[in-house]
């Protein structure tokens, strides 16, 4: 058996941690998610860079990313070769894919043409980093596509067993429950953009047809950013050039030897070249960075072009349809749409963790620039009154992590009745399922009893509901449970003023009410 390299051990370890965190990003009986997958995003320098540029503020949540920047400047792109789960997946599959030679288009400055507009667009307040961030692409591919698919397949199988043997299925239920409790998604939610997410992830794997780590060395904006920094690295390979008599390491290297020189900005520090060196000449040493006689950025026009296209990109994504925007309900605690867009990584974490499957990636509701950002679709799920998980997993606090009392008062939108379809108004029959489910202790939906005649002219007593705006936090349960088919008789609409609901007099005191019999 081939000797397992240290880098590979580290890769597998981080891949395992990544999957473990991914699976545990779910409610499992505790109000807090102890180890959310967001630690990967919080260590992501691309997220940090675009956050700094767009939000123009710093958050201590992203401190690990700062450390990562520092260590990359010291050591090089070790993240790509030792940690990045997407890189690990590529390394694991690439051996099975026959190569047909590099794509010339991707060579040269292609990656800078991606990274720089991305960074400059963020500076002009359109933060699209998450769209191309490798971790975000991986999490989205898993969350929106693979995980629901696996969950649904297992579930269908389980249902099939019931159809086959009926209640006798109970004998094997403990085994399935174990799987369901710890590995499978609790609720199989299907997402819009699942296909696009799968396509992006699949596309990256497909690129392995052309050369090893094609995405990592030619496209990945995170890797490119890390590469820029690693030029300062004091960790260098000697000999710097290929030996004349042997170029074995060149064929072993998943990265690039350009004109015989190993490029620091592309070296993943996998140390394969050290292992493959027959003369045992190749090794890494600590030494001050060499002057390479190359400009820091490849060409000035890339920089200027990047800035210009970032600016244009930022402007081009501003269109928002008012009607679609009216249903653009952001997760609880998000007050300002623009600030949210500056900070959101589009990683899909909040949607993964959402208890009731209320959050979905936006397609075009918030304009092209809002693609993959989370929005609530109340007809499919609602914001659970006592749940605070989305704020807990958000790596950049785009969704603030609020204590539960504050989250309950955070305004998502306001409900309003559509009296053309709502039963007591349109059909003159009783209903008020919405009032029943309204979680506000004083009920944001109230009902007045009216005497009227029904559709047959018979006198009836009806409870006609109405919304009290000052009590409504827009959680959406009313719209979710409305028994009408398709369109609900009550709908939550977006509002500009998201001032949290006031604390009702006497409410704070009640929190401390103790059960005298416990």
């Amino acid at each position: 058996m081939k000797k397992m390299r240290m880098a590979r051990v580290s890769q597998l370890l981080f891949l395992f941690i990544f999957f473990a965190l991914f699976v545990s990003t779910e409610y499992r009986g505790s109000d807090t998610v102890p180890a959310a997958i967001n630690s990967f995003f919080r260590s992501d320098p691309l997220v940090l860079a675009t956050y700094l540029a767009a939000a123009r503020s710093f958050t201590w949540l992203l401190f690990p990313a700062l450390l990562m920047l520092l260590f990359t400047a010291l050591l090089g792109r070790f993240f790509c070769g030792w940690i990045c789960p997407l890189g690990t997946i590529l390394d694991l599959v690439t051996g099975r894919i026959r190569k047909s030679g590099p794509i010339q288009l991707l060579k040269g400055n292609f990656k800078y043409w991606l990274l720089l507009p991305l960074l400059f667009a963020a500076l002009f307040r359109v933060n699209l980093a998450g769209l191309l961030d490798p971790l975000a692409i991986l999490v989205r591919g898993l969350t929106f596509f693979l995980y629901p698919l696996i969950g649904d397949t297992a579930r269908q199988g389980w249902v099939g067993v019931y159809r086959l043997i009926g209640a006798r299925r109970d004998h094997i239920a403990p085994a399935y429950n174990l799987l369901h409790d710890y590995l499978l998604p609790f609720r199989e939610t299907f997402y819009p953009l699942a296909f696009l997410s799968a396509l992006m992830l699949g596309g990256i794997i497909f690129l392995e047809r052309y050369e090893r780590r094609n995405w990592c060395r030619n496209i990945c904006p995170l890797g490119t950013l890390l590469g820029l920094l690693s030029r300062f690295s004091i960790f260098s390979r000697v000999p710097a050039t290929l030996c004349d008599d042997c170029a074995k390491c060149k064929s072993a290297c998943p990265s690039t030897f350009r004109e015989g020189v190993q490029l620091k900005e592309e070296c993943l520090l996998c140390l394969e070249c050290v292992d493959w060196c027959r003369q045992r000449k190749a090794h890494f040493v600590l030494e001050p960075p060499r002057r390479e006689g190359r400009p820091f950025l490849p060409e000035r026009r890339v920089l200027i072009g990047g800035a210009l296209s970032g600016f244009l990109l930022a402007g081009a994504f501003r269109f928002r349809s008012p009607e679609a925007n009216a249903r653009m309900l952001r997760p609880p605690g998000v007050k300002d749409e623009d600030e949210f867009l500056d900070k959101c990584v589009r990683c899909g974490e909040c949607m993964k963790v959402c208890l009731k499957g209320a959050l979905y990636p936006s397609v075009l509701h918030g304009g092209v620039g809002g693609i993959f950002t989370p929005m609530m679709i109340p007809r499919l799920g609602y914001c659970e009154y006592n749940c605070t998980l989305c704020g807990q997993v958000c790596p950049t606090a785009a969704i603030p992590s609020l204590p539960v009392e504050e989250k309950r008062r955070a305004v998502i939108g306001k409900a309003s009745f559509d009296k053309n379809v709502c039963l007591p108004f349109a059909k003159k029959t009783n209903c008020i399922v919405c009032e029943e489910h309204c979680p506000m202790p004083k009920k944001a939906i109230q009902a007045e009893t009216v005497r009227t005649t029904d559709l047959n002219g018979k006198p009836v007593e009806l409870k006609q509901p109405y919304v009290v705006d000052d009590l409504c936090n827009g959680c959406g349960i009313c719209e979710n449970v409305c028994p009408l088919e398709g369109k609900a008789g009550i709908e939550v609409l977006a509002v500009h003023d998201k001032t949290p609901l006031k604390v009702a007099a006497g409410e704070a005191q009640q929190q401390e009410w103790a059960d005298p019999y416990q």
Partner: protein, 293 residues
């Protein structure tokens, strides 16, 4: 004693005894046991004992379904769900009477995981042998012909239908539409599909379901009752502590009595009235034997 005398005595005794039993349980109408005790487990036990004990309902080897209200993501003191101590005691009694397995479930309105945890019922039943606290699964609903006034048929939960004994353990509380709910409304928890739609004719619909899915025993938790902003409340100012547990085999009678705890008359509640009219039980509390224990 001579043989003839013995036979006479035995014959008369048997005859007399039969009348006596009939007098006790039939002539005086249904029994509602009302236990008041700050120890809620003791209250539950004595209410059931007053009806003749759990052995009257559960035979050795029975599969028992205990159906509490676990509808909401609320804590026990908020009185939106059945008191976990009451649920646990009913389960214990059923096991003690010889139940082979006790299944506990509900179809909550909030996230089921949160409801099971925060109602305190998951913790209360943790570690008990032969007890299953389970989430309901879509494929297990079975289409049942009800031939009712409002519902011709509906999907009901197979484990509830198949149980040897169905014990209905609701909490008594306020409800926006029906004013007060207890046993009759609690069976909504075994209904599948879009059950919100039955609110249009909730009184007849609930009678339809209760006519088919009979509660062999109803234990109403009135240790704390929610007097306003039901069915989920959330405001402790709406909670009244009564420390009462009721038990009966007559679901209408027990609901009727529970109504009085809210200062209302049984006739005020359309659901109870409809169920009585449909022959599900006695609404007139004068014809009900109340056993205060």
């Amino acid at each position: 004693m001579k043989r003839r005398a013995f036979l006479k005595f035995a014959g008369l005794a048997a005859l007399f005894h039969r009348f006596f039993v009939r007098d006790l349980f039939a002539a005086q109408g249904p029994v509602v046991a009302v236990a008041t005790n700050r120890d809620h487990a003791a209250a539950t036990r004595s209410a059931i004992a007053a009806l003749g004990g759990m052995k009257r309902f559960v035979k050795k080897g029975d599969v028992v379904v205990v159906k509490p209200n676990i509808g909401w993501d609320r804590s026990p003191e908020q009185a939106a769900n059945t008191n976990p101590t009451v649920v646990k005691t009913v389960v214990q009694e059923a096991l003690a009477a010889g139940a082979k397995k006790v299944k506990v479930f509900d179809r909550p309105c909030n996230d089921e995981r949160r409801c099971y945890v925060n109602s305190g019922i998951k913790a209360a039943l943790a570690g008990m042998k032969n007890v299953e606290l389970k989430f309901m699964e879509v494929e297990r609903y079975r289409k049942v012909t009800l031939n009712g006034k409002a519902l011709p048929e509906w999907d009901l939960y197979d484990e509830a239908l198949d149980a040897n004994v169905f014990i209905n353990v609701p909490v008594a509380k306020n409800h926006g539409l029906t004013r007060v709910t207890a046993g009759l409304k609690n069976v909504m928890g075994v209904m599948g599909r879009n059950r919100g739609s039955i609110h249009r004719k909730i009184d007849e619909s609930l009678a339809d379901v209760n006519r088919v899915l009979k509660s062999h025993l109803v234990v109403v938790d009135a240790t704390r009752i929610l007097t306003d902003n039901g069915p989920q409340g959330g405001n402790l100012a709406d909670v009244k502590i009564l420390n009462k547990v009721l038990a009966s085999t007559d679901i209408v009678a027990i609901d009727a009595y529970a109504t009085t705890l809210f200062g209302l008359k049984p006739e005020d509640i359309a659901v109870t009235v409809a169920a009585h009219r449909r022959g599900l039980g006695e609404i007139d509390l004068k014809k009900v034997r109340l056993m205060q224990v």
